[in-house]
Amino acid sequence: MFKIVKREEMAEGTVILNKIEAPMIAKKAKPGQFVILKANEDGERIPLTMADTDPDKGTLTIIYMVVGKSTALFKTLKVGDTFQDVIGPLGKPTHLEKLGKVVCVGGGTGVAVLHPITRALKQIGNNVTCIIGSRTKDLLILESQMKAASNDLRVCTDDGTYGHHGFVTDVLKEVLEAGDVKLVVGIGPVPMMRAVANLTRPFEVKTLVSLNPIMIDGTGMCGGCRVSVGGETKFACVDGPEFDGHQVNFDELMLRLQAYCEDEKACYEDYCTLREAT
């Protein structure tokens, strides 16, 4: 059992932060790694990349968007409640290297994943520009944390209610044109990561993306999370979750993420109806 010690609602209640007691994982976890969580006996195993860890207090933080039945169920858990299972740390940690000028680009809850990576890249001496975005001002998360984790924070909203009016890629383009960028880390919804990778390609700037495909075990056993990278099949759980964005077949990934969408939609709707009724 893994106890929730802190809970916050963000982005108008669509995004939830849970700080969870998991001392063994917190001690081991490195930026870029993920955990698998399962709320109860009949629950689904949900992979989420960690937003933060505190090895001294033995806690880890996850930030997730409520998108289906399992995350809706997670949302009902209060401080003091428990996840039945938390497994990790899984996946390869981010390769951290002092390169000079680095740009971290985050969209949606991808900002949460980007947070420990940004902080670590800055800590080892990189000059980190961070670009985060959301649809609208009220959906933006972790602004102050990202400001602290980077040397320069730029904010965008699709509707112009805050910061730059437009997409993160608009700002990224400016930064790339200014030159000298050694690495771009782009984490967010698949279309955003694809756009980031397409933008950096002509600049020949190495671009890392963090993928979150459907998976079960997270240890390389099921092969459900296979992604095509440079024409080869890779397992995101053990070969990733981070890959060279210029090599990832994003189209295939987008399709594969839809594998259970009809089942999931029906299941989520049933769950919501049931919750409203009780």
Binding site: K28, T219, C222
Partner: protein
């Protein structure tokens, strides 16, 4: 004596009652329903009680088969199960999933002239009897040695090591990467062949004897092998299984609707997705299902797909019936349930629609040529034999490789060229001090009982090492 034997030969084997194919093909309840007390005693009476029993030689864990069968025929079921436990910690499992026909029953003298004594059915009977009627008394245990042993992986070989060493007085902790213990017994073998309540009971039996279980512990990630020694474990047994699914490497293989058997069976068995949406994990329900491969895992996948409501389920295999690796009984059960067999057939590519979903498969007919390295005749494509097969769900069950998660994080342990752990076949000893290994991560994919046999040998070797230092 000769006369007595001759008399017994005429008594035919007591058949195990089972669910009718047309009923069971759509439910997940266990197929064979078990012997009654009368049936068990009648079958037990067929045993000749050989002085030099071949059956025991045929058993990878050397269960005293005539001994426990004799106790059954005397009606002493408690005595019988205790007798089995001295050699086998998982009799309810072995009675169900061992390939007895090539092991104990394959060497049974009664079987030379007729049907072998139904040793598997009898083993299952006493284990079930104990579970339902037993006193719950535990086997005797040696005084504590005060020494800690870690077992990595809670599949059949790990559980065997745990059961053996707890009885020898060790402090045993089993680490399991999944959220539930049992390994392949829980994620791989379906409910209709091995009810999960029975696996849970066998594991509970080990826990009651003092075995500690840590789930969600991914050795190689959550904790490293060296850290286990730092935590005070004096010996470690690695029984992590093969655990790396093989794919066909054909065009279109990443279409939605193509799953490894590992994924398909894990969804169905571990995650109980056949009860979706009562549980939260979904499973693809194909109308025209194709299973690639013809081993036991392929049969399990095909029979699961049928139970999930498929209109048709086809086994597609590139060799002929004679080369199919599955147990004869499993093939028979699958056929009875309406699974079709497309033998000497090999897929060449998968076809999908615009949404990336599988719609069909291109195939070639094959013929058998000269024997290959495996000694089986090599399948050769027949020119111009291309044909199309409609399918919306393909389950790839063509074997598995060595999962590198643990071994990659343990560079000072020798692996062979396929990534399996190098271990002494007699003792399971690896090239890393204090570390033993057995089961599929040493041999490649094999059977439950062979993994248990490896566990037994390793447990003996660990006991010697911790007692004498070698």
């Amino acid at each position: 004596m000769k006369e007595k034997a001759a008399k017994k030969e005429k008594v035919s084997r007591v058949a195990m009652p089972e669910q009718k194919p047309e009923i069971r093909r759509r439910n997940f309840d266990e197929v064979p329903t078990g012997y009654t007390v009368a049936m068990a005693q009648e079958e037990a009476a067929r045993c000749l009680q050989c002085k030099k029993p071949g059956c025991v030689d045929g058993c990878p864990v050397s269960v005293d088969i005539p001994g426990f069968i004799n106790l059954i025929s005397q009606g002493d079921f408690t005595g019988a199960i205790r007798h089995v436990w001295t050699k086998n910690a998982l009799p309810a499992v072995c009675g169900r999933v061992c390939p007895q026909e090539i092991q104990c029953e394959g060497k049974c003298i009664v079987g030379k002239r007729g049907e072998a004594v139904a040793i598997g059915n009898l083993e299952r009977f006493v284990a079930d009897w104990e579970r339902e009627n037993g006193t719950g008394a535990l086997p005797p245990q040696a005084p504590s040695t005060g020494k800690k042993v870690a077992v990595v992986g809670s599949g059949p070989s790990g559980l065997t090591v745990a059961g053996d060493l707890i009885q020898k007085g060790y402090d045993v902790t089993v680490l399991e990467a999944f959220h539930k213990p049992g390994g392949v017994l829980v994620y791989g073998i379906p409910e209709f062949r091995l009810p999960k309540a029975i696996v849970a009971q066998e594991i509970n039996f080990l826990e009651r004897q003092g075995v500690r279980l840590k789930v969600n512990a991914v050795v190689g990630r959550t904790v490293s092998l060296d850290e286990l020694f730092e935590e005070g474990y004096e010996a470690v047994y690695l029984g992590v299984g093969a655990g790396l699914p093989r794919f066909m490497n054909l065009p279109g293989e990443n279409l939605i609707g193509i799953l490894s058997a590992n994924e398909y069976l894990t969804r169905a068995n571990l995650m109980k997705a056949y009860r979706y949406p009562d549980v939260d994990t979904p499973i693809p329900k194909g109308k025209n299902v194709v299973v690639l491969g013809a081993g036991n895992v392929a049969m399990d996948s095909a029979r699961t797909a049928m139970r999930l409501g498929a209109d048709s389920v086809k086994i597609v295999y590139r060799r002929s019936r004679d080369e199919m690796p599955a147990r004869a009984a499993e093939i028979h059960h699958a056929e009875e349930e309406g699974i079709e067999f497309f033998l000497l057939t090999n897929p060449t590519q998968f076809k999908g629609d615009q949404k990336g979903r599988l719609t069909g498969m291109e195939c070639l007919k094959m013929e058998l040529g000269e024997p290959d390295d495996s000694g089986r005749r090599r399948p050769i494509a027949i020119k111009g034999s291309e044909f199309h097969m409609d399918t919306d769900l393909v389950i790839v069950a063509v074997g598995s490789g060595a999962n590198p998660l643990l071994t990659q994080s343990t560079p000072d342990m020798e692996l062979n060229k396929w990534g399996y752990i190098v271990a002494d076949p007699e003792t399971g000893k690896t090239t890393k001090k204090g570390v033993w290994a057995g089961g599929d991560i040493v041999t490649g994919a094999a059977t439950v009982i062979l993994a248990m046999g490896a566990g037994r040998k390793a447990a003996d070797a660990i006991h010697q090492y911790l007692t004498w230092g070698w």
